[in-house]
Amino acid sequence: MKHPIFKKLLVLSFTGFIAGIFSASAEAGMDKAAIDAIYQKAKKEGTVVVWGPQKNTLDYIEKNFNKDYPGIKVVTAASLRSGPKIIAEAKAGKHNLDVFIFPISSGMLPLYQRKLLAKGPWNEFGVPKEKQFLDGHVAGLNNLAYVVVYNTKFVKPEEVPNKWEDLLHPRWKGRLLGSPFLFPHLMSYFNLVWPDDRVAAYTRKMVNEQKILLPRGPREGFLKSGERHLVVGDFTQLSKIYRDHGVPTKYKFMDLTPSPQFTSAVMANAPHPNAGQLMAGWLTTDTAVKLRKQKYMFDLTPSSNSELAKEMRSSGTKHILETAENFKPRKVNLKKFKPIITGRKK
């Protein structure tokens, strides 16, 4: 093997062999023949309708699904209020939706309980069992992570907290910001780990002493203007979006990291059932995972090797993943602490 070209060929062949092994591993779980059969039927249907909570969770689908599966028109619609609409339309016998993307407990569970979801093509697409929920009706896509997000222009490095309770320090009075929707949920997650009195005391101090601002409005604007300096319980994804918009932000994992689980499901009476199955399966593929990463949406489940998952684990935080099982206790927790935040309870 003295000839240089021969050496290059050998190296290239070996590299290709190794790459082939890895790609084969990634695709090993996928039943390509079955997927192709679904695709052929989906093409005849011609359209797939996908609903999700926000436009940025759907944009990548419209632009990329057809690259893998041409010939199927993708129609998306974003609304945080889809649940009652889906239920009302189903009751009236109208089914306008093929695939639904939403967090597992706030969106999927009510539909699952009303038998409005079909089982997805998870086996055909090689989705591991630990990423299938609600008896195989939904598949996990990505997670959000509750962190603190701060404007580096107004928060000195030495001030950056390490634990949620560091924010009770007097230095943070009048500087904190939160969401009137997310902050109560954060408390409900805390209560899975902390006892009632600790969470109640924390909530009361935050609203009464630290004067946390909970406006129904863009936190980005308040951060950028400097009206408030740190968001208590925002998402890593949003921190990056704020940075893209010119706000000098960083995020930090605290001692606890609650983590909602985004999922997708095919509707039971989808008007385009095969296109729905194909789309729901495609959302679980490596292609879709990569596209979501570009939008800062990462998988944080225990088996994930995403960058954010690694970063989270290396921070030493305790990860509290949203599951259908911890939904009930969180619902109970929410009732305990939300009235303090909304002023209905002292």
């Binding site: 209020r81 339309e89 706030s106 009048g174 601002l213 909970l214 604007g221």
Partner: protein, 579 residues
């Protein structure tokens, strides 16, 4: 004719004719149809539970649980209700004082630039309330508010303030300013229709302007003043946008905030039942206020100012008061209208960068360019005009007919009609949207998912049109209609050629108000949304939720630009040319 005499007893019966009865009957049926769905949905939802079942589902049960959850709470009575009343009274007082002064200056004096000022006063109505609230925070936030920063810089002050929007005072002024256009529009209609001869007679008798104002003008204007006061009070009570943005951070807890939290998806589904249980008191308060209103205006003849004898409305000469008046108008417009609109405009070009010379280098037209490149955007513009205009015309005309029945006839049941039409103000938009969704999903008329379902869903807001048109009609002497009948005119001819033209100011106020409300309404179209009936407010809202804030602000700016010429046109077409 017997049936007509039964339905419309009194000497008017013979004048109506079959066509008149059909028109009025159709108006009554239409009004009851439009309002019954949201009203029944609200009342029934309040008694359907549990919270994880939607009210219309088969598994839902009758329950008083929502009422227990909401009303068995000492904090409600110790804190929330008192704060709510302080907030509502304060906001209405601020709004009324400013709005009456502005309406007087614009409609009864020779203030220069009246038409422009009229349009500018309406600006806050055009800006979505949430954006208005954010604009107020950007201007008066204690730490980084732009006005506060400017004052601190000018006077060398340290620390926060001097203004703090996050206070009861801040909230009252913000809400009061937001209510001014609404109250102004309604008061301007009443002032414009007023015959000044009574005031002139008072002045000729030696009474001072103050005496004339308190003893002649105000009593005559009673219906025209009470109607906006009652409506503004109810609107202030059920507003939650500004209390959420400005009040909650200051721990000011008003009743309506709870409605928002019940309707925002919490763990599973919105709790419509609890939201309905929260909204029901507004109906009862509305009933009480309407009873008081009806009692205070029971002698309709006392309020007539437009008679068969011609009159030319004279405008008071401001003289030396011209510049103080202009200053008053300018200060209000600057803080309540122009600055928030400028914040919106700035955000559309510069994002959330505070205004500065350096920030100018980052100006970007990208939000506008991207909007104009979307086909969906143009469709939304067309849909919005159709829906806002269509519903405004429908509700205004039906409201005018209802007002005629209330003022001119003794039809049995008209009191109930009056109350039912008034109830619409107590129905949250989300309940109206839910009701429309359920109704038109079950009716096989093929409107669900189209723009027509939006027109139908929007057309339940009779409280304002009935009240306003009633006040306007009370200013017209019935001799004007009698003269038309005596000359051989039919009822329809009389209404078309005499009554409606003379009611021009109140009709204009209704049309403008409903058109603007229709333009910015987003709760109902979000619920009934489809690809075919997308409107601008939904696009704005979705951009907002998606954190595309400059683009959302751009849509807000464009909404203002679309509506302003419509207001100008409406004023030109509907107001008599008397100047």
């Amino acid at each position: 004719m017997t049936a007509i005499a039964v339905l419309f007893p009194g000497r008017w019966a013979g004048d109506l004719g079959v066509r008149g009865v059909l028109v009025l009957g159709a108006a009554v049926v239409a009004a009851l149809y439009f309002i019954s769905a949201p009203l029944f949905t609200m009342v029934l939802s309040a008694f359907r539970g549990p919270e994880d079942m939607l009210p219309f589902e088969d598994a839902a049960e009758w329950t008083l649980g929502h009422f227990a959850e909401v009303y068995i709470n000492p904090v409600l009575y110790q804190e929330i209700i008192p704060q709510t009343f302080i907030f509502a009274f304060g906001a209405v007082t601020v709004a009324f004082l400013i709005a009456f002064t502005l309406a007087w200056l614009v409609e009864r004096t020779d203030l220069p630039g009246r038409n422009v000022i009229f349009t500018l006063i309406l600006f806050p109505l055009l800006v979505p309330t949430m954006m208005l609230g954010i604009a107020w925070v950007f201007m008066f936030g204690p730490n980084a508010g732009w006005i506060n920063q400017a004052i601190r810089f000018l006077f060398g002050m340290e620390g926060g303030g001097p203004f703090n929007i996050f206070s009861m005072t801040g909230l009252i002024f913000a809400q009061g300013a937001a209510l001014v256009p609404f109250v102004f529009l309604l008061l301007a209609a009443a002032l414009r229709s007023m015959n000044p001869s009574l005031e002139e007679a008072s002045a000729a008798s030696g009474a001072s302007p103050m005496t004339t104002f308190f003893r002649i003008t105000l009593p005559i204007l009673r219906p025209g003043i009470l109607a906006p006061l009652i409506l503004a009070f109810l609107v202030a009570m059920e507003q939650f946008e500004l209390p959420l943005i400005v009040g909650l951070p200051a721990r000011i807890n008003v009743f309506s905030i709870r409605i928002f939290f019940e309707l925002s998806p919490d763990t599973e589904l919105p709790v419509y039942g609890r939201a309905a249980a929260l909204a029901l008191p507004f109906l009862f308060i509305g009933i009480l206020l309407l009873l008081a209103y009806n009692h205070m205006i029971r002698r309709a003849d006392n309020f007539v100012t437009v008679t068969g004898k011609g009159y030319r409305p004279e405008r008071f000469r401001l003289g030396k008061w011209k510049w103080p008046s202009l200053l008053f108008v300018a200060v209000f417009l600057a803080f309540a209208a122009i600055l928030p609109a400028l914040v919106l405009l700035w955000t559309s070009f510069f994002g959330f960068n505070p205004p500065s010379y350096n920030a100018l280098a980052n100006m970007s037209f990208k939000p506008y360019i991207e909007l104009f490149q979307e086909e969906r955007f143009y469709k939304a513009i067309g849909n919005t005009f159709i829906v806002a205009g269509g519903s405004a015309i429908v509700v205004t005309l039906i409201g005018a007919m209802l007002a005629w029945i209330l003022v001119r006839t003794k039809m049995p049941g008209r009191v109930i009609l009056d109350f039912v039409s008034f109830f619409s103000i107590g129905i949250p938009s989300v309940i109206a949207g839910l009701a429309a969704m359920l109704l038109y999903l079950s009716l096989p008329i093929g409107v669900y998912g189209t723009v027509w379902v939006l027109i139908l869903a929007y057309s339940y807001r009779f409280a304002v049109t009935t009240r306003l048109n009633r006040a306007g009609l009370m200013q017209l002497h019935k001799e004007l209609e009698e003269a038309s009948y005596a000359a051989g005119g039919t009822w329809i001819t009389t209404v078309r050629r005499i009554v409606l033209p003379l009611m021009g100011p109140s009709l204009l106020a209704c049309l403008v108000l409903l058109f603007i409300i229709g333009f910015r309404e987003f709760t109902i179209p979000l619920i009934l949304m489809s690809e075919d009936n997308m409107v601008l407010s939904v696009i704005l809202w979705r951009l907002f939720e998606n954190l595309e804030l400059s683009k959302a602000a751009a849509v807000g700016v464009l909404i203002i630009l679309f509506v302003i010429p419509i207001i100008f046109l409406m004023r030109r077409i509907l107001l008599p040319k008397t100047e």
